[in-house]
Amino acid sequence: MPSFVETQLNDGHVGTGVRQRRSSEDNPAERVDVPAFIVTNEMSDLSIRRRVPSHETEARGIVSAADGAATDVGTLASSGNRRVTTVVEIERRKRTNQQRSQVLQQWEGTVEEVGPNSFGARMRNLSVDGAPEEWATLLLDEISDDERSLVRPGATFYWSIGYLIEPYGQRRTASTIYFRRLPAWSAQDHVRAHLIADSFSDVFSNDLSQRSTGG
């Protein structure tokens, strides 16, 4: 079942609206100021389910004069020409990206060697200033299928360990590895690399006649 939030907004989608969670034994009523633009669906976790017809709001007691939410809306709307209250029913979206994460420790790694089942990397701790460099031996199984091809010597990746926090607060420990995707070598890069290489040719020149031999 979706979690419903009843929201009253001043008409015209400006200013600040008031969101009120329906009271129940498990979820006591709460009032939170929310930006009115939630009706434009820009808020990630809320969307308008439907406008609630007035006969229904009256039946549910939402727009009663005694309701604090209604009073607040009225106050906000007073700067406008009319006092119009629209009641919409908001549904919390079921989206996986509602998960939040809490990083406990993070490293930047450089792949040094790749074996048939594992790879080795030098790791720089990004969470602890001045931490010593470490070596990690990680299983290729820990890498997602679409990133497996990136596991090559010299590749940079990030390893985070922490919690994934579900929308309703459940926490579980998680280890996440993702690889840095630098842009590919371009034709322009190749030209530039060759120009730089050519600029070194005096030092690496076979013609030593212009130089002393030292000793």
Binding site: L104, E112, P132, E133, A136, W185, A193, I196, A197, F200
Partner: protein, 358 residues
């Protein structure tokens, strides 16, 4: 680490090997106030090249006394701070592997220059080239090391490069080519792959004493490459070595039995450096056991154990168990001196250890 402060006598051949979790540097007094530096590491406490700090502790001006700076190969555990050393040693001539004198390596330098700085692995090499260009044509050209090349004559001795062999250079060029990206390849750090048989191994003689610095040279089955090529060569005129910087952190793939019999004397002072940036850090207990079978004078410059890991929340600790180990370890120095007359001495400083049978 507190460096020793007593400079060697003019007639003393001295080698100091510096090591830590990742990094290697060798400083040699070739005699008569002349010094050589091969590779570089940074002191983890000061962030400065250990070689320069040691010479300063001895009260010697690096700008005058260092005659050769040797880049044995381009791996970062050997090049950290090398351009700083070269910049500070205005009288020094730089020695590169001949494999670097190729268009393939130059090209690699060019591509590396385009990568984001934190992804570059050849910045030190490029900086040295930059210093050479700044110094201009009045300054000595780089020396290009190949097997059995006389690099320098000293008052009572000489310095030879024993590698790379021609065959090794050819194979390494293939390696360089394989690293050069083609259009559409994702950008990433250049990491050398395959056996390391292009590094510069040095033989340094003064009087009757020889020091062999093995760099990271490895050995395979090909008699024309790596240690096998050196062992079968009859060109180098030096007597058997009295001190040996063990190649490639004591790993088995750098241990060529015929090289020990052809180049290394009995009871040699053998010094290795640790390398902890591997799943199984080097030297392994098996490596130590094998090397102790060759000499009882086996030393490790730098601690083989990593420093303490930072404290972590217990749930993090649980998730990373067995996957991480600290690379960094404490700096150490092993110093061997061969006076013209009298007994040689071996000293250890900082985290260096004398390795003994378990």
């Amino acid at each position: 680490m507190i460096y020793p402060k007593d400079p060697p006598a003019a007639d003393t051949l001295e080698v100091s090997v510096f090591g830590k979790g990742v990094g290697e540097c060798i400083v040699v007094h070739t005699g008569d106030g002349e010094w050589l530096i091969a590779d570089s590491l940074l002191n983890p406490t000061s962030g400065q090249p250990a070689a320069l700090e040691y010479l300063a502790a001895l009260g010697l001006p690096a700008s005058n006394v260092v005659k050769l700076v040797v880049v044995t190969h381009w791996h970062q555990d050997h090049t950290a701070g090398l351009s700083q050393i070269f910049h500070a040693t205005a009288k020094a001539q730089v020695v590169f592997s001949s494999a670097f004198r190729t268009s393939e390596f130059r090209e690699l330098l060019g591509y590396d220059a385009i990568l984001p700085p934190e992804t570059s692995s050849l910045a030190e090499m490029r900086n040295i080239v930059g210093i050479l260009r700044e110094r201009g044509s009045h300054f000595p050209t780089p020396l290009w090391a190949v097997a059995n090349r006389l690099l320098r004559t000293t008052p009572n001795g000489d310095i030879y490069s024993l590698s790379p062999s021609d065959a090794s250079i050819m194979v390494t060029l293939e390696g360089f080519r394989s690293l050069i990206p083609v259009a559409g390849d994702p950008k990433r750090r250049f990491v050398a792959q395959g056996p390391n048989d292009t590094c510069v191994v040095l033989s340094i003689r003064r009087g009757s004493h020889t020091i062999v610095l093995g760099a990271d040279l490895e050995s395979g089955s090909d008699p024309t490459r790596g240690w096998k090529a050196i062992a079968t060569s009859t060109t180098c005129p030096h007597p058997l070595a009295s001190a040996f910087k063990v190649a490639h952190h004591g790993s088995k793939n750098a241990d060529e039995p015929s090289a020990w019999t052809r180049l290394i004397g009995a009871d040699v002072a053998a010094i290795l450096t640790p390398f902890r940036a591997l799943r199984k850090p080097l030297p392994t207990p098996t490596d130590v056991e094998r090397l102790l079978g060759r000499t009882k004078n086996l030393y490790c410059a730098g601690s083989r154990a990593g420093i303490k890991a930072p404290s972590r929340p217990s749930n993090v600790h649980k998730l990373i168990a067995g996957k991480l180990h600290v690379i960094d370890s404490r700096l150490g120095q092993v110093r061997v001196r061969f006076p013209a007359s009298g007994e040689p001495s071996i000293e250890k400083f900082g985290a260096a250890e004398h390795l003994r049978a378990a």
